[in-house]
């Protein structure tokens, strides 16, 4: 087993779990877990019209993104036995990292609140990128 491959697969699986919890809170409008205070509040972010992009609720992006990364890391590492395929994963993850610039802007500049679960997903993407870059250096 390749440690970095296993770590990447595990972390992207964790991303899927967080994305599902976030989607569940959006759909049920029950943000009891995710509302820390008036600033760190998933409810406040979700109720803003800026929580949609091109009419698509932001949580949908997480629901698509992390299963995609999970599948790619799983498939291109032979279920963690080999090294991660950097050529496939790195462009995807970098795209995701750049897209989070917009998501930060959206929450901080337009909505004026932060959604803790959303931030967790961004951080997971950043860490996955670091794993893949480390894998390049092996």
């Amino acid at each position: 087993m390749n440690k970095l491959s296993v770590a990447t697969i595990s972390l992207s699986a964790f991303g899927i779990i967080v994305a599902i919890i976030l989607a569940y809170e959006y759909v049920t409008a029950d943000f009891t877990v995710c509302n820390i205070n008036s600033f760190f509040s998933c409810g406040a972010v979700a109720s803003s019209p800026y929580s949609k992009l091109f009419g698509i609720p932001m949580y949908v992006f997480g629901l698509v993104w992390f299963p995609l990364i999970f599948t790619l890391s799983l498939a291109y590492s032979s279920f963690g036995k080999k090294e991660i395929n950097v050529m496939v994963l790195l462009p995807f993850l970098l795209l995701g990292d750049v897209f989070t610039i917009y998501l930060w802007f959206d929450q901080l500049a337009l909505i004026g609140k932060l959604c803790p679960f959303c931030i967790t997903l961004y951080i997971i993407n950043y860490i996955l990128t670091v794993f893949v870059i480390l894998s390049m250096r092996q």
Binding site: N35, N37, S38, G43, S47, V86, M87, L90, P91, A109
Partner: protein, 320 residues
Amino acid sequence: MPKCKVCGKSFSTLESLEQHHRTVHPKIKYTGPKRELPKHFYTVIFIVIIVAVAAVGVLIYTQLPHHNNNPSILDTPISPAFYGNLTGVSDSTLNSVANVSIEFYPAPINGPPLNKSGLPEILYIGGDFCPFCAGLRWSLAIALLKFGNISGLQYMLSGVNDMNLSTLTFSHISYTSKYISFVAIEAYDRQGNNYQPVGQAESQLWSQYDPAGSIPFLDIANRYILLHSPYDPTILKGLSWEQIYSQLNNKSNPVTQQILAGADAIITAICKVDGQQPASVCSSPYANVNLALFSPSASTLAYAASNPYYQPSIREAKIE
């Protein structure tokens, strides 16, 4: 062809090299040959980043507030185009947002009938500086125009330190309708100073249904009250008057959706107090939204409690 770094033996695959190393040289850590990336890999990565950054830059630019209002036209009559867009909101657009949820709906009360000149009276008390009044006035003006005509609408911005939101003011309006009467009092000017006096009868209603004396205060014939903007007015932040009114028939615009959903709720409440007149308006889906939708979640109440402007809404929920 991969070679063993220790003994120099060649192998056809990386797997066979690794197996050889672990079997023949078990005491030496296996590091394997360095992975070779395609020739143009870094160029591709660079292009991906540039394109993504450019796309995100465009996305951010399109969302950035581009406020190009000219404050010198405050307190002057709104342009014919502005008024035309307020009156020109189509039934189809209003219907399209009938199921869009908003933050605050008119809450039912059971006061004695409130009439003026024999017609159900709609009483509005607000202030030019107040951002929540700024939000409410967009929805209210559109709603009132379904029942009559407004003249004297003027340009207004909420206070400089109160988000500076583009809106209109009711301070010099005249409203004519066969179905309802409308009394508007802008109790404070844009700087927050006392402006138009609140009459004794209006003051009594205001303190009865809103003991905190917060604004906006909207009393719909003593049958419904609304003590807040129907939607979060921060969505107007940075938008010019034209950017708002020119989109009032754009069903997919999130700001339009919130303004018009607020108008739908107010129209519904007015139809319930004026005998469902005119029938052409009151029989429409947009005039029959579910006002009982206001059942704030724990998180909304928690959010409300954290913001002094939202506190009246908690009371509003309790009245219902």
